[in-house]
């Protein structure tokens, strides 16, 4: 089943094109690496999928529908930016999230809380950047969402937190779940990818199955990434 379909998708901010003529199909059950340097359009693409931004041209469909109320029920989006209410406690963030999604799994939430090593009584403003990143991921992974969008989940995160996040993503793998991870830190996560999409200046210039690309070029995805963006 097609989970994401972008046809000639474009997004413009003023005179700057953040995305230009993107054509992409992502099938169910894939872990997709959306790769590119800062400003290549990765976050814009994810925001369009999450329904937080509107295309300037072309079309995008998520689970067969234009991003909106219906798709938001099935999409879990974790932005790079800290988007949590800082006055909430960790427990409050879980409860708040649980209240809006029929697919929220409380048992899974508890399991992740322990795994991510977070104090349920701690205030968000007292958490370190790594802890906040783990909390954000936890909110997404505690749901049985069909599509999970992770925007730079490893950016600026300490190595122990990075490892936990990686483990968390692995734990959350399901055959009917699609995960799109945007990152410019390819090395540690490339083992997760089934498919990779390379973006540059808002355009897709390379996309395919991770394994085929590795075999074709005789290099790891990280090495291809470094070569392409040199």
């Amino acid at each position: 089943m097609t989970v994401v379909e972008a046809v000639n998708l474009s997004k413009r901010y003023g005179r700057t094109w953040a995305l230009r003529g993107v054509n992409l199909v992502i099938e169910e059950g894939m872990v997709v690496g959306l790769l590119g340097p800062n400003g290549s359009g990765k976050s814009t693409f994810l925001r369009l999928l999450a329904g937080l931004s509107h295309p300037s041209g072309g079309e995008v469909k998520v689970l067969g529908e234009r991003p909106g109320l219906a798709t938001k029920k099935q999409v879990a989006f974790v932005p790079e930016i800290d988007h949590l209410y800082r006055w909430m406690r960790v427990r409050d963030t879980l409860d708040f999230q649980a209240g809006f999604y029929a697919d929220f799994d409380p048992a899974r939430g508890e399991e992740l809380l322990t795994f991510m090593n977070l104090d349920p009584g701690a205030r968000v403003y007292n958490l370190s950047k790594g802890q906040r990143a783990r909390l954000k991921l936890m909110l997404a992974l505690a749901r049985q969402a069909r599509l999970v969008l992770l925007d730079e989940p490893f950016s600026g995160i300490d190595p122990p937190s990075r490892e936990r996040i990686l483990q968390g993503i692995l734990m959350a793998y399901r055959q009917d779940r699609t995960v799109i991870i945007s990152t410019h830190l390819v090395g540690e996560v490339e083992k997760l990818f089934d498919q990779v999409v390379f973006l540059s200046q808002g355009e897709v210039f390379l996309a395919g199955e991770a394994e085929s690309l590795r075999a074709e070029r005789g290099k790891s995805i990280d090495e291809i990434f470094r070569e392409e963006y040199r």
Partner: protein
């Protein structure tokens, strides 16, 4: 249920603010009542709340939208599977609750202040009229909130000149509100008038005391005002759904 959850979130977010401002108002009113015979007491107990609170509520109404962007929580809020009308509805309810909580001590304080200041007894219908006018202020606030929301949301619907757009929509919103509700009131002219008693307060001179005068307001104006406020609220929700981005 989503409305109640979002309302709870809004109320909890402003809890500290509510406690602090309520404490300040109570303190001002106590000071004014204890010093009712001093010339500055009316300024402290009546003028400060009557001028300060509307400005405060105007500012908090704008802030309730802008804070979501300033603190990046708009990413979370707008990715929730709820209609934009529910998001704005929860904010409206929370602002109205805050309005009632904060204006109640001011309304009681002002009443007690005049009771102390004016030696003659209040006219028999003064208390009920006073309560009626206080409740009327809630309805006035309800009609202002959608205009503020439309202006604040417009600021986030454009990529440049956001502040200017917000200011223009805010001023234009009031102008349009007046024009459209007056036109609509004309269509609803068949509705009856509501009798309204208006108190006149003299705090000095030989005619010191409270006089009551009978006036009336057409119900068509009240109904048309609420209908136009509802329309503006809906426009703000549509703008949030189709034009605003994070």
């Amino acid at each position: 249920m989503s409305l109640l959850r979002l309302y709870g979130k809004e109320m909890r977010a402003s809890l500290g603010d509510i406690i602090m401002v309520t404490a300040v108002i109570v303190l001002l009113e106590i000071l004014a009542i204890l010093n009712y015979d001093k010339p500055w007491s009316a300024a402290l107990g009546v003028m400060v709340p009557m001028v300060g609170l509307p400005l405060y509520f105007l500012s908090t109404s704008f802030e309730s939208i802008h804070r979501e962007w300033n603190e990046h929580t708009a990413y979370w809020l707008l990715s929730l599977p709820v209609r934009e009308e529910v998001i704005l509805g929860a904010k409206t309810l929370a602002l109205l609750s805050r309005f009632i909580i904060l204006t109640l001590p001011a309304a009681i304080g002002i009443y007690l202040f005049f009771d102390k200041l004016i030696p003659v007894p209040f006219p028999p219908d003064f208390t009920s009229t006073y309560i009626g006018l206080y409740v009327l202020s809630w309805f006035l606030f309800i009609t202002v909130i959608p205009i503020v929301f439309l202006a604040a949301v417009s600021r986030h619907a454009v990529q440049r000149w956001g502040w200017l757009v917000q200011a223009l929509i805010f001023v234009g919103g009031f102008w349009a509100f007046g024009k459209v509700s007056a036109w609509l009131a004309g269509l609803l002219d068949f509705l009856p008038w509501l009798s309204l008693r208006v108190p006149g307060i003299m705090i000095g001179g030989p005619q010191r005391g409270i006089t009551m005068a009978s006036h009336g307001i057409p119900l068509s104006m009240v109904v048309s005002g609420l209908l136009v406020a509802g329309l503006i609220f809906y426009l703000a929700a549509l703008l949030l759904r189709y034009r605003v981005e994070v």
